[in-house]
């Protein structure tokens, strides 16, 4: 690998690059889908290639190829330089990267059982048992299960002296039961352990065993069928308690995306949008109530946003985002960290917070979430319910939407329960809630403690052009919000 990385970096400099980096990435994935007792999809996928990123005449260029030969490295590097020259035709000023990044090292996801050492029979057996368990409830029309495994080996080198080798391993899985009332034309579904049929972690096969998919299958099937005859979620303003998985998506959408500094500076404006968390709010804006503390932490074991170094070679860090309700941090790159300092001065860190991540060899790194977490509070879950006289508990996402500055959101959940007199009451279906981000977080008056906190995986976060799918993590525990508008479906 050294031969190829040196070749690219030397050639880029010879051709006029003031900075260059190269990533060589080899990704292997395995996807298994089972539906109603039948293996509907089983695939093993490999992708390899390299991408060269250069700064020439103060502007970016990037080119990539799947062909790992010296001649192709030469062609692609020259193309990246040519592209950077074209970028410079419209530049207003030279880009600045700040202090050099020259780390050298190795990182590998710690796993107990390598998922590729587990036989296919074992994986299928687990899914088929869960599938059978869901279909044990009459009324379940579709029982589905999936497993997903991911291994990415990558080498990063730059002209500042960095040379980093990393191997990231992930294991994901889940089940979904769908119940249908054909006469009423109604469909309800329940998933476990997370929405859209899977949770995913930077762990090995042990993560799948810990889910105990067969052990939860019958309950999931029963709940899907029960939802068909449940009462609809009422409309109005009420107290809302969100379960941990729903809260993980709430954090993802209403905190994780608006703190991406590239969005703030407008470079995602034409696609994902911008952000309401503009630089003048940095360090002073009340994002939430006093008990709301959020961090972006790329060092948490098991989180999908965990790594040794980001794709600019910046070390993994724990960055405060919201402290006692006050907005105090962004997800940054080397370039945007410098831009922020030009606006807010020494209040901003001198260097990148390490949030540049690329979806493979053929994509340029952009600012992505690491593990963006709501830090745990002090409540036991049972005490929180007992302390709530009138409200609704909602859990596990079914639909999600938020405006392009990340203010107005509306979420739907798979399941909900009425809370009356401090106790969980009747089952509710088609639950939805809506709000404006800072008002919603300002209404948070209770967060459950460490006993109820864990990091959930979001393996499908879309952003960028060409599109990139990131794997992000979100640590959450159930929390309570006052005066929330619920029941948006007519």
């Amino acid at each position: 690998m050294r031969t190829l990385t040196d070749r690219a970096l030397n050639l880029a400099q010879v051709q006029g690059a003031s900075y260059a980096d190269i990533r060589i990435v080899m990704r292997r994935t395995q996807e298994i889908n089972v539906k109603n007792g039948v293996v509907e999809g089983l695939s093993d996928n490999e992708s390899q290639g390299f991408g060269v990123r250069v700064v020439v005449d103060g502007a970016w260029g990037f080119a990539s190829s799947a062909i790992l030969t010296p001649a192709e490295v030469d062609r692609v590097t020259a193309l990246a330089v040519q592209i950077a020259h074209a970028s410079a035709l419209l530049k207003v000023r030279d880009l600045r990267l700040g202090p050099p990044v020259a780390h050298v090292g190795l990182y590998r996801t710690p796993v107990e059982i390598d998922p590729w050492d587990v036989s296919l029979e074992q994986k299928l057996d687990l899914l088929l048992k869960a599938d059978e368990g869901m279909r044990s409830t009459p009324g379940v029309v579709v029982a589905g299960g999936s497993l997903s495994f991911w291994r990415e080996k990558k080498v990063f080198a730059n002209t500042e002296g960095a040379y980093l080798e990393q191997e990231i391993i992930e294991s994901g899985g889940g089940i979904t039961a769908t119940a249908v009332d054909r006469q009423k034309g109604e469909v309800q579904k329940r998933s476990y352990p997370n929405a859209f049929a899977r949770d995913q972690r930077q762990e090995g096969w042990e993560a799948i065993l810990a889910m105990d998919l067969p052990g939860h299958a019958a309950r999931i099937g029963e709940e899907a069928v029960a939802l068909l005859t449940a009462a609809p979620c009422p409309s109005g303003e009420t107290t809302l308690i969100l379960g941990a998985t729903q809260l993980s998506l709430q954090v993802h959408e209403s905190c994780g995306h608006p703190i991406e500094l590239d969005r703030v500076f407008g470079t995602e404006a034409s696609y994902a949008g911008t952000s309401f968390l503009t630089p003048e709010k940095y360090g002073s804006f009340r994002y939430g109530s006093d008990i709301v503390n959020m961090t972006a932490d790329a060092t948490i074991p098991g989180g999908l946003g965990t790594f040794g170094w980001d794709d600019e070679g910046v070390p993994a860090q724990r960055v405060p985002i919201v402290r006692n309700g006050i907005f105090c941090g962004y997800l940054t790159s080397r370039e945007t960290a410098q831009q922020l300092r030009e606006i807010v001065g020494d209040a901003a860190p001198e260097t990148s917070g390490g949030a540049m991540r690329a979806d493979g060899w053929n994509r340029i790194p952009i600012i992505r979430m690491t593990n963006v977490n709501l830090e745990p509070g002090e409540w036991e879950f049972d005490d929180l319910i007992a302390d709530t006289d009138d409200g609704i508990y909602m859990e596990l996402n079914k639909s999600w939407s938020i405006d392009d500055k990340r203010l107005n959101f509306q979420f739907g959940t798979e399941i909900a329960y009425e809370i009356k007199g401090g106790k969980m009451g009747r089952l509710l279906k088609n639950a939805t809630y809506t709000g404006i981000t800072p008002r919603f977080w300002a209404s948070c008056d209770a967060i459950c403690n460490q006993n109820h906190w864990r990091v959930w995986g979001t393996p499908n976060c879309g952003k960028g052009q060409p599109g990139q799918s990131a794997h992000t993590g979100h640590g959450t525990a159930p929390a309570r919000f006052r005066n929330v508008q619920v029941g948006m479906i007519k």
């Binding site: 093993d44 970016w60 592209i83 639909s399």
Partner: protein
């Protein structure tokens, strides 16, 4: 570009080596370039060369799939062996009948030389025209220009072989002021067919016109939707109901409704992968020729799209709508058309006493799929219409609305069709729409 001869040698080598009962090889190769701009300057400028080989093998009724983008003989042999190992280790699938057999494939050209030969400097010039226009008007431009050459080949051991090379060029832009935004996009097979000045003008004018928007109470409004917003109707209906999987699992809004009137009789939606007004593709990812499928004809539910696996479950034949194997998502109408009417946008506005003019939707998601209830936001140019004229810009609103019910309140359909990019080499073609009532359930602050 690998070229037809190189692809043919590659797939024949794999088919000859395979010991499976049936084998399929899909090659998807291409060169894609994207120049992305923001704050009226280029901030990302990228190129990619890739070739993916997807091998599907069948042992009895057991199916295994493996992919690689390493085209050397050893890697291809390993990928074939992976697919075989996957197939061997799983139980028989009684629903699987067979890979599709050979059928005559339509032959047509859909290749733009200007797209294929586009240089980084030409892309910079194209986006530069939009950036300059924005700078001159005191607003900022963002967006992306893509030029791509794509090559799709499908072959199987039953005799299927299809090879097709195509191009795509797409420009989209969001122009922003301190208080407003405007959007425009266009796409074509050939770069020379894109008019950067016109796209820039459309978005700049929309941005300037939507400055200092006023807050508007949510509620039910007559709406005029530009084709950008109408595309979401097609995509959401395709996602929730136009696929054989959704029908077979009982979750499609079409279940039990085939032959019945489900929307206004002026509404017709069909899929046609060979219509040159779209982004034509002669065959699907199984090598089955694309058939025109009437999904909704004059308001009546007519049918859904099939791949060979889902067709086999009903003893039907595929309509040529397979996605790449194993295609857990099922078949999909990638080339959908919403039939035109006879109205212009000006006529729609002139005939509106009070209503909303919507440029496009943002972040839409199905809330209740069986009624196609969708929530989402307006974006990049929303206006109140009063007494037949655009009165003033309004802050963006959230809607929560059944698209099916909305299509039962059609007032006018636009006569001009617009091609917009979709998924997996596909694109949708749609007009503007005027709907009698649309439910806005919330508002945001800008």
């Amino acid at each position: 570009m690998l070229g037809e001869q190189r692809v043919k040698e590659l797939v024949e080598g794999i088919l000859a080596r395979s010991t499976a009962d049936q084998t399929e090889v899909v090659v998807l190769a291409g060169d894609e370039y994207l120049t992305r701009f923001a704050n009226s300057t280029i901030h990302q400028n990228v190129a990619e060369t890739n070739s993916e080989v997807r091998i599907r093998v069948v042992l009895g009724s057991r199916v295994g799939v493996a992919t690689t983008n390493n085209l050397d003989d050893k890697a291809l042999a390993q990928t074939l062996e992976s697919a075989l190992a996957i197939a061997r280790l799983q139980p028989e699938n009684p629903n699987f009948k067979s890979l599709p057999g050979p059928q005559p494939l339509p032959r047509f050209a859909a290749f733009g030389q200007a797209t294929a030969g586009c240089t980084p400097e030409q892309r910079a010039k194209g986006v530069g025209a939009i950036c300059l226009m924005a700078r001159n008007k005191g607003v900022v431009a963002s967006g992306a220009l893509t030029t791509a050459v794509v090559e799709l080949a499908v072959a199987n051991s039953l005799g299927v072989f299809g090879h097709f090379a195509t191009t795509q060029a797409e420009i989209n832009t969001v122009i922003m002021s301190d208080t407003s935004a405007g959007y425009a996009s266009d796409m074509a097979l050939d770069l020379d067919d894109l008019d950067f000045e016109a796209i820039g003008r459309e978005a700049v004018e929309k941005c300037l016109r939507s400055q200092k928007p006023r807050a508007l109470d949510p509620g039910d409004y007559t709406v005029i939707l530009e084709p950008y917003a109408v595309q979401d109707f097609i995509q959401m209906m395709a996602y929730t109901g136009f696929s054989a999987v959704a029908m077979q699992e009982g979750r499609s809004f079409m279940v039990g409704k085939i032959g019945q009137q489900i929307v206004d009789p002026r509404v017709s939606i069909w899929d046609d992968g060979t219509d040159p007004r779209g982004l034509p593709l002669p065959f699907d990812f199984e090598g089955v020729p694309k058939q025109r499928v009437d999904l909704i004809e004059k308001g009546v539910a007519r049918g859904v799209v099939y791949d060979s696996y889902r067709a086999g479950k009903e003893n039907k034949t595929s309509t040529g709508h397979a996605l790449p194997a194993p295609a857990a998502f099922g078949p999909f109408p990638l080339n959908a058309f919403f039939g035109p009417g006879d109205a212009t946008l000006d006529e729609m506005i002139a005939g509106t006493e009070r209503g909303l003019y919507v440029t496009r939707f943002h972040y839409t998601r199905p809330v209740e799929p069986t009624r196609v209830v969708v929530t989402g936001m307006t974006r990049d140019g929303t206006f109140l219409i009063e007494n037949g004229e655009i009165a003033y810009p309004v802050k963006n609103l959230r809607f929560t609305q059944s698209y099916l019910e909305a299509l039962n309140r059609v007032d006018m359909i636009g006569k001009d069709l617009r091609l917009l990019s979709g998924m997996f080499l596909g694109g949708t073609v749609q007009p503007a729409l005027k709907l009698g009532s649309f439910s806005f359930t919330g508002a945001t602050e800008f």
